[in-house]
C-alpha cells in the first residue's frame, strides 16, 4: 500500500504532522497552486499500514486518516513488482 495526500482536499492544517506516531508527515515548505502548504511525506515506507496491510488483511493504525478533518489522506494499492528486461551495454 502507498500513502498519499489528496492535494485538492488538503487545507494545510498540519494536524497529521502532530499525530502520526512515526512522524511521517513533515510541514511543507512551498504553497501549491491553490496556495495551500501541503505536508510532505518523509520516508512513507515506514508507515505500518503501508507495510503490513496486505499481510494482516485489515486496517492497521490509520490514525492520520481518521484525524484528517478534510478526508485528504488515503492509501492506494501499489502495482506488483514486475521484472524488467535490462539491456546491458558492454
Amino acid at each position: 500500500m502507498k500513502l498519499a495526500i489528496d492535494e485538492t482536499r488538503c487545507k494545510g492544517c498540519n494536524l497529521c504532522t502532530k499525530i502520526c506516531p512515526y512522524k511521517i508527515f513533515k510541514e511543507g515548505k512551498k504553497p501549491n497552486r491553490k496556495g495551500t502548504v501541503v505536508p510532505e511525506l518523509d520516508r512513507p515506507e515506514r508507515c505500518t499500514n503501508c507495510r503490513l496491510r496486505n499481510l494482516y488483511g485489515r486496517q492497521l493504525c490509520g490514525v492520520c486518516q481518521l484525524t484528517c478533518p478534510d478526508q485528504a489522506i488515503h492509501w492506494t494499492e501499489e502495482e506488483p513488482y514486475e521484472l524488467h528486461k535490462v539491456a546491458i551495454e558492454y
Binding site: 485538492t8 482536499r9 487545507k11 494545510g12 492544517c13 498540519n14 494536524l15 504532522t17 502532530k18 499525530i19 495551500t36 486496517q59 490514525v63 486518516q65 481518521l66 484525524t67 484528517c68 478533518p69 478534510d70 478526508q71 485528504a72 488515503h74
Partner: protein, 262 residues
Amino acid sequence: MSYEDWFRQDRLPHIYCAGCGNGTIINCTLAAVDEMGWKKEETIFVSGIGCSSRAPGYILTDSLHTTHGRALAFATGVKMANPDLHVVVFTGDGDLAAIGGNHFIHACRRNIDLTVVCMNNQIYGMTGGQGSPTTPKGCLSSTTPYGCTEIPFDLCELATAAGANYVSRWTSYHVKELEKAVKVGLETPGFSFIEALVQCPTAFGRRNKFRQVTDHVEYLKVHSLLKAKRDRMLEAGEKIPEDMYVVGELTKRSRPAMGVKP
C-alpha cells in the same frame, strides 16, 4: 468497504475552516456506523443549525437539516414514525445546550433510541464567535471580551442526570476511543450521548492564544483526564484541577428505552 464510501464525494472538500475538528468527528462517526454494517437506506442523519450541523450534507444517506436546536425533536419524530430506522443526530453545543436544551433533557428523559454526537467547540463558531453555554470560565469570545464569567454547562452530567442510557466524552485527539464510544452508543438501546470536544481555530483559538491548530489539540490532549484516573484521585482524596475535562465512558445503564422493538 470502508467508511469513505459513506461520503458524498461530489460535495467534498467541505466548507469547514482549515483545521476544524468537525471533519474528524464525522470520520469517527462514519467509521463506527460502517462497522455496524447498516444499510445506507436504513440510516438517517439528523442535524440542526450550526457548523457541526452541516455534516449530514456530506453523507450519502438520507438526512434532515432542521431548525435551530430542534434536531432532537425531528429525530424523535423520525424514530417514532419508523422504529426500524437507525437515527444518528449530529449537533453542536449551541444547538444542543442553548437553544435545544429543553428538547435535550426530554429526549434523555424519554430515553428514545437515538445516538447523539455533540461536537462541542465551546463557542458559536458559524455566527462569529459568540459565547455559548459551554464556553469555559475566563475564555474570550466576541460577547465576552473580558473573559467569560459564567460557569459552563457540563453536558455529560446533564445527560446522566436526565436519564440517558449511555454517556461518554472524548476529544478530537482521541480518534480511536471516540470511534469505539460511538460504536457502543449505536449498539446500546436507548438514548446514547457522545460529547466530542473539538478545536475551533477560527472563532475560539484565535481569541484564546491557540494560534496554531496543533496548539489547541495539544491543549485538549493535556487537559483530558481519564475517568478511571479521576476515580483513583477521588479515592486518594486529591483535588481535581478545575480546567480538566473528564473523558471516558461516564454512564452505561439499561433503563427502559422508547422506540426499541421488543
